[in-house]
């Protein structure tokens, strides 16, 4: 770099640093200057929670398992921020959480905070959309995934009852752009075929899996080899409910003249199959348009598989692992793991209130277990983890890793109030990162190990380099190098911003040795290296 450019760079650096100061870096570093979170007025639903806790306590005692200790406030906050906003919390948010009085219900206050965060609706919408319509781009023109996700986000922002939302998806009519829920149906359209309507079989499979937690499509082509619960007819009778959906000039409409025909295995000729639900037929009305009837049956409060499927979905989004695994193969008659039936009851009783369900899961004894034992000589066992007596360590999703790298490079929350340029840059960076990191798509709950390309990407990739290398604007490491009052403070802040925890004694000692007496450029580089190491640790890419 020429001396001139270097001087210019320094000038920019000083400018940016003073701007940074104006934007309140000191305020973030000093907790006492921050406005604490508001202590929740709503609080946690304590009655349901204590009956849930009893269930788990009994289950653990019966299995002779010692539960892991309770996770601290910061650990719970990290889990919830990752699940509900797609990134770790910012240093500023952590400081505000810490400023809560000790007697406050931190989980309740943190959830109040996250439900009000404008990243919550779109992020949860995207996660739910994966279950509802998958990740495929779908047919050209007649399917707009983006519209569906935006619509879902709007419903979540209003905390619309889940049963209403699902009914609207199944029974949607009209044009996919003006009625975004219709995309649930149009995604299945196969272009270039004579039948221009949605594909009944794909929709039956999705409906059973996403809303009832049943893999009914396993009997799509033949009767179940593994039991006599379902036969091929059950699947196609469910598919028959979608047969009358037709594409017209005004979008999707029901056409009562259409019947559903298919050739069952072993039959020589196709037969007409009537719309009949695969279980609990008494809950299904006999009148009205087919999809409206189906929607009402699926979401009926008495139809418990609907509530169980929602519980299992929300549980897996928060915990990284389903309560009943696999997620869409929940037994119709049990047995169920501890928690399932009580959560389903509470969800139904709340009028299918998703935020209420999230509060219950987040406040439960199982969710608030630590993922490690107090005594390193007696580490957590597979049995403890399987029974939720310890929180499972699971891989973060690619966008959670990218989101956390980007979030941690800023000290305050990159929510909707952050600058538009910040958000645009985030979008571009994230997309590029995701492509290389690899998205597990439909198999997101099948646990994968870290891969070599993922390690290469985090060690040597552009995003991490740009977000950690000395740079007064893009990286918090440089700001901490200059603004933290001392080494201990700088190290502590980096750990909080990246790992949402304080350094252990050994860690603090190790990094103090590295920073001690370092000034100027070398100090910036050493802070960048500290950030690099934190980002490249297992802990950064895994939920704990």
């Amino acid at each position: 770099m020429s001396p001139f450019l270097r001087a210019l760079w320094k000038l920019a650096l000083i400018g940016a640093l003073s701007m940074g100061a104006a934007f309140g870096i000191n305020r973030i570093l000093e907790a006492d200057q921050l406005v604490p979170l508001v202590d929740s007025t709503k609080g946690q639903p304590s009655e349901a929670l204590s009956s849930l806790d009893r269930e788990w306590t009994e289950a653990w005692a019966k299995a002779d398992l010692t539960p892991a200790p309770k996770a601290d406030r910061l650990t719970v906050a990290r889990r919830l921020s990752l699940a509900l906003t797609g990134s770790v919390p910012s240093l500023e948010e952590i400081r505000r959480l810490e400023a809560l009085p000790p007697e406050a219900d931190a989980t309740a206050a943190w959830l109040d905070h996250l439900f009000a965060d404008d990243r919550y609706p779109p992020y949860l919408a995207e996660r739910l959309a994966r279950a509802f319509v998958g990740v495929e781009p779908g047919p050209f023109l007649v399917y707009r995934r983006r519209r569906l996700v935006t619509w879902l986000a709007e419903q979540l922002a209003q905390n619309r009852p889940y049963d209403e939302l699902v009914r609207e998806l199944i029974a949607a009519e009209g044009i996919w752009t003006t009625n975004p829920a219709a995309n649930f149906l149009t995604v299945s359209i196969v272009q270039g075929e004579d039948d221009k309507g949605p594909d009944e079989e794909k929709l039956a499979a999705r409906t059973a899996r996403a809303f009832l937690g049943i893999s009914l499509d396993c009997v799509q082509c033949h009767d179940d080899k593994f039991g006599d619960r379902w036969d091929q007819r059950d699947f196609h009778q469910l598919a028959s409910f979608f047969a009358q959906a037709e594409m017209t000039l005004t979008g999707l409409r029901e056409n009562a003249d259409i019947t559903y025909q298919t050739r069952l295995l072993g039959d020589a000729e196709p037969s007409t199959l009537e719309p009949i639900v695969p279980f609990a037929p008494d809950l299904c009305s006999e009148n009205g348009p087919l999809r409206a009837r189906l929607a009402t049956w699926v979401t009926a409060p008495e139809n418990r598989p609907f509530a169980r499927a929602a519980v299992n979905r929300v549980w897996s989004l928060l915990c990284g692992r389903a309560l009943c695994d696999p997620i869409d193969d929940i037994p119709l008659e049990g047995p169920y793991p501890a928690g399932m039936e009580t959560l389903a009851d509470a969800f139904i009783a709340s009028g299918f209130d998703l935020q209420h369900l999230i509060r219950l899961v987040a406040g439960s004894a199982a969710f608030s277990r630590d993922s490690r034992s107090e005594d390193p000589a007696l580490p957590i066992t597979a049995e403890q983890e399987a029974a939720w007596a310890a929180f499972p360590v699971t891989p973060l999703r690619p966008e959670q890793v990218a989101g956390s790298v980007i979030q941690a490079s800023s000290l305050s929350a990159l929510d909707g109030s952050s600058h538009i340029l910040d958000r645009l840059r985030r979008f571009g960076e994230t997309r590029e990162f995701l492509q290389r990191f690899g998205d597990p798509g439909e198999s997101e709950l099948i646990e994968h190990a870290t891969t070599i390309p993922q390690r290469l990407l985090l060690m040597n990739g552009k995003l991490v380099e740009e977000r950690t290398a000395p740079n007064p604007i893009l990286s918090s490491s440089t700001r901490l190098a200059h603004y933290a009052p001392d080494d201990a403070h700088a190290i502590k802040s980096a750990f909080l911003a990246l790992l949402t925890r304080y350094p252990a004694e050994t860690e603090a000692a190790h990094f103090s040795t590295l920073l001690e007496g370092q000034t100027g450029d070398e100090r910036e580089r050493r802070m960048a290296d500290l950030h690099w190491s934190l980002i490249n640790s297992t802990e950064f890419s895994w939920n704990r």
């Binding site: 495929e136 781009p137 779908g138 047919p139 050209f140 196969v190 270039g192 999705r206 899996r209 893999s215 499509d217 396993c218 696999p326 869409d328 193969d329 490690r372 034992s373 390193p376 580490p379 066992t381 360590v393 891989p395 492509q435 290389r436 690899g438 798509g441 439909e442 198999s443 099948i446 646990e447 994968h448 190990a449 870290t450 891969t451 070599i452 390309p453 993922q454 390690r455 290469l456 990407l457 060690m459 040597n460 290398a469 252990a504 050994t506 860690e507 190790h510 990094f511 590295l514 050493r526 290296d529 690099w532 190491s533 490249n536 640790s537 297992t538 802990e539 890419s541 895994w542 704990r544």
Partner: protein, 438 residues
Amino acid sequence: MEPLISPTFSFDCGTSVHLDRRAVLRGAALGSLSWMTPLATHLSRAAESGKTRPKSLIVIWLEGGSSQLETFDPHPGENIAYGAAAISTAVAGLQFGEGLERTGALANDFSILRSVTSKEGDHARAIYNAKTGFRPFPGLVHPAIGAVLCHEMPPTVVSTDLPRHISILPGSTPSRGGYLGAEFDAFQIGDPSQPVPDVAERVAGDRATRRLASLSVLEQSFAAGRRADLASERTLHQSNTDRARRLMSSEQLGAFDISAAPQAEQESYGDHPFGRGCLAALRLVEAGARCVEVTLNGWDTHVNNRENQRARIDLLDPALAALITGLKARDLYADTILLVATEFGRTPKQNIAEGRDHWPHGFSALIGGGGLAGGRVIGETDPAGEKIDPSAGVRVEDIHATILTAFGVDYTYDFMTPIGRPLAISEGKPIPELLAKL
């Protein structure tokens, strides 16, 4: 030279779901062997030679839907040709579309499938179908054929640092490991004129050492009190960090560097990313890669079909001919199956924009090498473009079953999938005419 490490050494073991899957997935103990363990590449080749089975697969992936009528199944003189002429090839009576002269001259070296069918008419779903041999299924991602080959054919004696499953210019559809695990995902690279992404260390010397020392302090602290098998069986974080670092310093990265090839050879492939990708595929197979796919996109010609297909053909023809010639010149063709495939064909009838739309009811693929029969044509499409059932129809899964059989993999074997259902590796049937010589 890298230290010799036996493939049974434990760091090769495992995936995150190791414990669950090991019990049910045959060969899962071989775990992440889609990456080769250290030793010089030629040794790996040498160790495997002497068998009659093919050892590598190259997939030339024509993304977007190449037109059978403009490539390997022209119907000159018929209405559906819209005046396009055809060229003769080295095989008497076999004609290709214009522009495929160099490939046509080698027509004895491969066979043409003219009756491929698929049940998917949408790009994403059809690509999935073609690459995995299965239709998309909620809750399960099937492995692409390259991942299956890596899983079923671990290196026999010794192997290399290089990834064994590679996707060059993958766009948004790189081949995936699916339920076999992300470690079987294809390693993605872009234009081979650019360095391999993310393998250059950003800092050097003391800084690099300090970073790694700090990392191990953090790892120790994370492990304390957590499950004892977390690092060794589930995250594989540390072992894969070590392996990534070995790759970063491996001399074998040179296989990706096509500028090391003679100038004349480079030129024969064409001066564009796809041509360079084909040359890199050749070099990677030579170095011991199990499956390399090279994507040439831009075939989705809903408008001005003939002109736009021709522009792609002009890139394809020299590169494909050079690849076959290069494989033969290095005695690799008998060991390597070459597949040129696409997700679906294009409608016999043109639309009003003189484009052709999606047509999964009879399209073409080219397959050769690896001891498969050459110079044959399988199947026939309707010259009037009316019928949707070609004669001697071949489903995409049949191509999978054929390739797997040629490699000696029992494609009927039931994997236990993570959703608890056994599923055959392929549900297709091999094409006997292609396997006649094996």
